[in-house]
């Protein structure tokens, strides 16, 4: 996709050793930055001031909603009604959080959004495990064994990832209703498996494409069959891509709204659905602080995942988004 580059020689000029290694796996290591500025005089040029100004302004724009979310969630409603969405809380309070977690009304019950949290957990864990397994087996079979017709199937799978889910949703609903599992935990897990398979398969296939084919051939000469090679050779080597896949699938499943809305059933509604119910369907006064607390709670898991594993997150994006 991008022009190939070689590893720069040790003595290549212009490589500040403090640059963070940020590139995803499919791409080679960080190449030397172009040496463009001669900073003999330590005074920064107007160009560099401009660069930092632009980036700082953009950063403010990106951070604004997060700031407002956090700040609002710690204010009592009186303060919010007085206005000043950007002001820090004067009367700092944790009450909105308590209410969001265990007090707000989500449809019939008024037990807070914690029910949705546990639902999301119960949906995400099996969805992720199954999807990773499926992706790994598919990627392995596609990379090394390439049975006839597999390429075409993979093509259809990938194409399906781009198609809006509304094209497939009604028939899936009917089939699940006929099978009697519509509106249950197995239904939503199965649906996440179906729609998560393209990206998972792509991740693993691209990863295994980077494994030298000779390794596989040596294992076959040693007498290994399909499953043995997979379980004893390939899967143990796959830890990096499993981490990336887990991050992507957990984020995708946790943040999903529409599939949870349709397939999960009233007892298993994920946090995103309950959040929307809380905020957009209340009658009477809107409790903005509780709403923001609930929103943060819902976004907390993927955000935390992102902040703690930024490097792997970026690898996932590049490896999954770069289709071949």
């Amino acid at each position: 996709m991008t022009p190939p580059i070689r590893q720069p020689a040790l003595e290549r000029p212009g490589v500040p050793p403090s640059l963070p290694p940020s590139l995803p796996h499919p791409l080679p290591a960080l190449p030397s930055q172009p040496v463009r500025t001669r900073t003999r005089r330590r005074r920064p040029t107007p160009a560099r001031i401009g660069i930092y100004a632009f980036l700082a302004t953009a950063a403010l724009f990106f951070l604004l909603p997060l700031y407002v979310m956090i700040v609002t969630s710690f204010k009592p409603m009186i303060e919010i009604r007085q206005g000043g969405i950007l002001a820090l809380p004067q009367a700092f309070t944790l009450e909105p959080w308590r209410q969001a977690w265990s007090g707000v009304c989500t449809g019939a019950a008024c037990e807070g959004i914690r029910g949705g949290f546990w639902n999301s957990v119960r949906i995400t864990v099996p969805s992720t495990v199954l999807a990773i397994l499926a992706g790994a087996v598919n990627g392995y079979a596609l990379s090394f064994w390439r049975p006839r017709g597999a390429g075409l199937l993979f093509g259809i799978l990938l194409a399906g990832a781009f198609v809006p889910v509304q094209v497939m949703i009604y028939p899936l609903v009917r089939v699940m209703a006929l099978a009697g599992i519509f509106g249950s935990l197995p239904a939503i897990v199965l649906v996440h498996l179906i729609f998560g398979m393209p990206v998972m398969t792509l991740l693993f296939r691209n990863y295994y494409a980077g494994v030298p084919h000779e390794l596989f051939q040596a294992a076959r000469i040693d007498g290994g069959g399909f499953w043995r090679i997979f379980l004893q050779v390939m899967l143990p080597m796959s830890l990096p891509v499993i981490v990336v896949a887990a991050i992507m699938q957990v984020t995708g499943v946790w943040n999903d709204y529409i599939l949870g809305l349709v397939f999960a059933g009233r007892d298993n509604l994920p946090m995103t659905v309950e959040l929307n119910n809380v905020i957009n369907t209340t009658t009477g006064t809107r409790l903005y602080n509780v709403n923001m607390a609930a929103t943060i709670l819902t976004a907390l898991l993927p955000l935390a995942l992102y902040f703690f594993s930024g490097r792997w997150f970026v690898r996932g994006i590049a490896a999954g988004a770069v289709k071949g």
């Binding site: 490589v15 040496v35 001669r38």
Partner: protein
């Protein structure tokens, strides 16, 4: 055609000193090769002459003018990179003329220069192609052409042949030498390949760890290496080294090897010394004063390398005739005492 003068050059990268207190004078029209192993600083030095890397202190003069602070495009240099660095979305013609167009050179002049460079490098038929459609050797010629059209006074080459296969490398090496003869420009060339250095250079600058080890013509550097590093770096197969003692009478004894040295070989030095002798100066003769056992034979087509074990030492010997040796054979051999070098065991300097 201009000279290049480096004075007390110091270059640091990431806090580490890469080049220390370096002085170098390149005369106009010379072909100077910076030769050394990976990490010795030769590429960094070249980049600082080009202005792509800052120096911590020192001065760089090109053509008699101080260029220490000048922008790379103002130094009157052309540069050829190891990876060719051709602009992939432009044709060969556009690649060569892009810099000139930016500088506002009149169109007629651009055409003249491109035609001249293309003619010298046999690129006329390829002017409309893009880099992806060219072979490695053709791409390298385009990279050279791009430097040529700048009509620079000094040309810098950063390991330009490393990406080519052996046969192509030899071909382009010869073309580069012919180019230098035709143009007569000053050329500074970086490589780790001593064959390239020996064949192309008018003078070789051998570098290690940021310091110049020796400057001299290929013959000088080869026959009278200034220290053990230079002696071991040039020549293939490498020079043989034997540890031993030098006595006051000018005789060297190391293990089972004893040699009387011509007067003046080691000055007035006595004591521990390292004897260096090149394989081509070790002659296997039945009547040779020394005796050894054949350990290994490497046939090379037009010559053989025979490895002899003599006491605790192993020596390589070059044999140019068709004699057959088998491992285990006992043979006699002689060392040409007039062509040896002696080195101080501490520090490696020539005695």
């Amino acid at each position: 055609m201009a000279n290049v003068h480096l004075r007390k050059l110091n270059i640091e990268l990431g806090g580490k000193a890469i080049i220390r207190d370096l002085d170098l004078e390149v005369e106009p029209g010379e072909f100077v090769v910076l030769l050394g192993p990976s990490g010795c600083g030769k590429s960094t030095l070249l980049h600082s002459i080009a202005g792509l890397v800052e120096m911590a202190s020192g001065a760089i003069e090109i053509g008699g003018r101080d260029m220490s602070e000048a922008d790379p495009s103002e130094r009157g240099i052309g540069m050829v990179f190891q990876s060719y660095a051709l602009y992939p979305t432009m044709t060969v013609e556009a690649n060569m003329s892009f810099g000139l167009r930016i500088a506002g050179t009149p169109k007629a002049e651009i055409r003249r220069r491109v035609a001249r460079a293309a003619g010298m490098l046999q690129l006329d038929a390829l002017l409309g192609r893009k880099p992806a459609q060219l072979s490695g050797g053709q791409r390298q010629r385009v990279a050279i052409g791009r430097a040529l059209v700048r009509e620079a006074r000094v040309f810098l080459f950063d390991e330009p042949l490393s990406n080519l296969d052996a046969k192509l490398r030899a071909e382009l090496r010869r073309e580069l030498k012919l180019l230098h003869q035709a143009l007569g420009s000053t050329m500074i060339y970086v490589t780790h390949d001593q064959v390239e250095a020996m064949t192309l250079a008018s003078r070789i600058v051998v570098m290690e760890k940021g310091r110049i080890q020796q400057i001299g013509t290929p013959a000088e550097v080869y026959e009278r290496p200034a220290n053990r590093f230079v002696a071991g770096f040039l020549g293939a197969p490498a020079m043989n080294f034997i540890d031993g003692m030098l006595d006051a009478a000018g005789r060297f004894q190391g293990g089972a090897i004893g040699l009387a040295l011509p007067a003046g070989t080691a000055g007035r030095a006595t004591g521990p010394a390292v004897l260096g002798v090149r394989p081509e100066h070790v002659a296997i003769r039945a009547d040779g004063p020394l005796r050894g056992t054949v350990a290994l034979v490497e046939p090379m087509g037009n010559h053989q390398v025979v490895w002899l074990r003599c006491g605790a030492d192993t020596l390589g010997a070059l044999v140019h005739d068709a004699r057959v040796f088998a491992p285990g054979d006992e043979v006699g051999f002689a060392i040409d005492a007039a062509r040896v070098s002696l080195f101080d065991p501490r520090g490696g300097a020539r005695l």
